[in-house]
Amino acid sequence: MDHLTRLENKSIHILREAYSEFKNLCMLWSIGKDSTVLLWLARKSFFGHVPIPLVHIDTSFKIPEMIAYRDRLAIKWRLDMIYGQNLNALKEKQSFPDGNCTRLECCKLLKTEALINTLSGNWPRYRLNHDTGKYELDHNREPYSGVIVGVRSDEEGTRSKERYFSPRGKKSNWDLADQPPEFWNQYKTDFSPGTHVRIHPLLDWTELDIWEYINREKIPTVSLYYNQGDSTRYRSLGCAPCTRPVDSTAKNVAEIIEELKTGQFSRIAERSGREQDKEDGGGLETLRVDGYM
């Protein structure tokens, strides 16, 4: 069995465990390459179906192509698509692009808070109606007790300390210093009321694995990852104001793989284009402990 197939099978096993053990399960889809691979793996796990709702946190500052791509695939693959937002913060222009807070505060408001409250059902959720092609207010406000997330351990330090099944406290907080044990393909699938579990099927994948898998399976990805003629492309996708493209001539998946293996990026951190990581030394750790992806 080759190495991509091995990774694939392990991830499928985890997705199926999650599906069997969590009644209120959802999957976060950031539209990026990792969570899109995750979505593809879900289709593999369930023989072409995706019996798990997909949740997208819309900061309203995402690059427009991302949203268009999201809705195109949602309709094509008949996905149970849900999105949530921090409506208040957006209304009051509490954001970095509006010049009213720092990048980290902005992430906390538009992503972390929106995520926590969408998952818990405290804030409204909007669900795609496949008959009309429009999003409607979702009546289901039950909290999600299992949340599948596409984080990889090679992304940055703290993520390498994650479990496949990682409990989050009542306030969605992550108790890094006291994580439960996890071994022998047995996962934490029992949880006390009010808490939830984050599930990480892609933990063992690297950035290169992701692209090689996209290549092998011919998974559709958003065009922003490719150089469209101006010799730049995005390596990691986030909000437009805080994500910079990198200089690259890679026009397709094969060229990205080549570039990752041999070129300029083989030794530069993937999230180096993400500005929020750079604030406060442990910026991402702080965000993640509070419930960020």
Binding site: M1, H13, R16, E17, R163, L176, K261
Partner: protein, 609 residues
């Protein structure tokens, strides 16, 4: 470094991944060795080394290679590893995922988490301190976790003038310990993590050493081989049918732990003993296959539909049968905050099965460091012991010499995984005779052409045994009968049956001895229920003061997921597990309505789709 190929101009297809755990006593230099491996193989992201050096300068701290790994704020400030971290690097041969396990005893659960993912381990011992408690304990845990490839690094040789004598003394002491627990290490390597001696390349400081460097030893470890030649085992993760999306396949899904499966093969599911034939192998975005191999997260459909559920293990007829029992002897290590005690209910998870369990007996406790044997009535945190466990339901498993994947289990206490273990052997339980009868019945069972799901669709209900029980003075029969009538009026095929009906009918030949042979009585009731449920019916039986053991008996004959227990009136005075409790204040109408509502909520009765 010629052994390295950073550029990695190779295809994904021929790259191999290997997980390596690094363990040992705290401060013996695990993180340093890894940091050095990463630095010397050029595997760090550009600028990372400078960043950490700069951080140390600014904070007036000596530079530590460990800081390259210890990413948590707490870890950097305390200078220890709390969590198992993973880092990646590659050689010409393959990719490595190195798991840095914490050495501190407090974090043993993290060490277990890290090490259990590994195919091989590096065990680090500080030459100046020699063999310490956790050097031994971690060695012991590696053997319990089943990690057979171990290289021992004797570290900090720079502090002892690269002395051969010191190296050999530590080596002999530790070798003797490993021998006792049945680990034969691949080698002992004298190293200095800090200075990089014998890490990525052989050092001139120790001309007396003619073995391999750490990097060479890593490449000499062997990758995990799939258990292709073992009997076929696939724990069932789920049975999928996505009818709403217009897909009528009923797919048995799971990961193949061992062996192969081919279309046409006769499969037997254990513990139920249900039998069928493989109709097709299913996959998405893949060309049609007719054979499934070890390691694949797969799915297949059956030629004749039988009721199987998550937790069973699919096996092949004609191959070695798994053990099936509800009493086992096992080796257990305990990690829980609370001790593992008798008379307390825990959850037991093996493969995909999840069953209630209690500790029956602690046979002996083994000190993981001194190997001394003691006895106690319970297990404390970090104890390792041989125990006897009693399960609420049957499980299927293999002894470890047949297949470790299906002999390993974990124990859950209060939502947390609190211990792990290996089933060493099936012990006799009181259900053996009944179980054998049921297995034979399932193998011989002749089926008609009507499928269970077709009946369920036609009748808009899942066949279920509803046990209406309560104390002696409560009118169980009346409630059961009214419930039957009410469901019948709504068009449900339903049947009321009392224990008396059984006693004077099917039990007529043994009636006199029933008092002494309650087991046989319930075995027969299970057979009646099996027929009725197979016919698609909801069977309502009133029973006086139902016990856990009664339900257990019934579940040998029919799947426990098809049993619902309803307790009427005052608090239960038996140990039975109750699905629905009806307070004594409820009127008869309200009682029946509540039961009906429950059946609806559980999806046992539903509207036609």
């Amino acid at each position: 470094m010629t052994a390295l190929n950073l550029e990695g101009n190779r295809l994904a297809e021929d790259r191999e991944n290997m997980h390596i755990a690094i363990v040992g006593h705290v401060d013996h230099g695990k993180s340093t060795v890894i940091g050095r491996l990463l630095a010397d193989t050029g595997s760090l992201p550009e600028g990372k080394l400078e960043l950490v050096r700069e951080f140390c300068r600014r904070n007036a701290r000596p530079f530590e290679y460990a800081f390259l790994l210890d990413a948590l704020k707490d870890e950097q400030s305390q200078g220890i590893t709390i969590e198992s971290a993973r880092c990646f690097f590659k050689t010409a041969k393959r990719n490595y995922i190195i798991i840095d396990a914490p050495g501190h005893i407090e974090f043993l659960k993290n060490m277990v988490t890290g090490a259990s993912r590994a195919e091989a381990a590096l065990l680090v011992i500080d030459a100046t301190e020699g063999v310490q408690e956790n050097s031994r304990r971690h060695g012991y845990m590696l053997s319990v976790l089943g990690i057979k490839q171990v290289a021992v690094l004797i570290n900090k040789l720079d502090l002892v003038d690269y002395s051969r004598e010191v190296f050999e003394t530590v080596r002999e002491e530790y070798r003797a310990f490993l021998e006792k627990i049945g680990i034969e290490p691949s080698c002992f390597i004298p190293v200095s993590g800090m200075r990089g001696d014998n890490i990525a390349s052989l050092s001139e400081k120790m001309p007396w050493y003619c073995g391999s460097s750490v990097l060479e030893i890593l490449d000499a470890f062997e990758g995990e081989k799939p258990e292709q030649d073992k009997p076929f085992r696939m724990p069932v993760q789920g049975v999928y049918k996505f009818t709403r999306d217009g897909d009528n396949r009923r797919i048995i899904a799971g990961t193949v732990e061992a062996g192969t499966l081919t279309v046409g093969d006769k499969v037997i599911f254990y513990p139920s003993g249900k039998i069928s034939r493989v109709k097709s192998i299913e996959a998405f975005n893949q060309s049609k296959k007719d054979k499934l191999e070890t390691g694949y997260a797969a799915g297949f459909t059956l030629a004749e539909q039988v009721f199987v559920s998550r937790g069973e293990i699919a096996t092949l007829a004609g191959q070695l049968k798994p053990g099936v029992t509800s009493r086992i002897r096992a080796n257990i290590f305990w990690l829980g905050r609370e001790p593992f005690r008798k008379h307390k209910q825990y959850l037991f998870k093996l493969g995909t099965a999840k069953i209630g369990v209690t500790l029956e007996e602690v046979v002996k406790i083994i000190d993981a460091s001194s190997l001394a044997v003691t006895s106690k009535d319970f297990l404390d945190k970090h104890d390792v012991a041989e125990c006897i466990l009693k399960l609420d339901q049957d499980i299927a498993f293999d002894p470890p010499d047949v297949l470790v994947q299906t002999s390993r289990f974990v124990i859950v206490d209060n939502y947390e995984i609190a211990g792990g273990g290996i089933v060493e052997e099936a012990l006799a339980d009181i259900h053996q005779a009944t179980r054998e009868k049921v297995h034979l019945r399932n193998i011989k069972w002749e089926k008609g052409y009507v499928e269970e799901e077709e009946r369920a669709e036609r009748y808009s209900q899942k066949p279920t045994l509803v046990l209406v029980t309560g104390k002696k003075e409560i009118n169980r029969k009346q409630v059961a009968k009214v419930l039957e009538k009410k469901l019948f009026e709504q068009g449900k095929p339903v049947y009321f049956y009392s224990m008396g009906n059984l006693l004077y009918g099917i039990d007529a030949d043994i009636k006199a001895s029933v008092k002494n042979d309650k087991k046989e009585h319930f075995r027969r009731l299970a057979e009646v229920a099996n027929i009725m449920l197979d016919a698609g019916i909801i069977l309502i039986v009133s029973v006086i003061e139902l016990t856990r053991e009664d339900v257990r008996q019934l579940s040998l004959g029919i799947n426990h997921e098809k049993i619902v227990t309803v307790w009427l009136g005052e608090e239960a005075n038996t140990d039975v597990e109750i699905d629905l409790h009806i307070p004594e204040t409820f009127s008869q109408d309200k009682t029946v309505a509540t039961i009906k509502e429950y059946l609806q909520k559980k999806g046992i009765i539903f509207k036609p789709w």
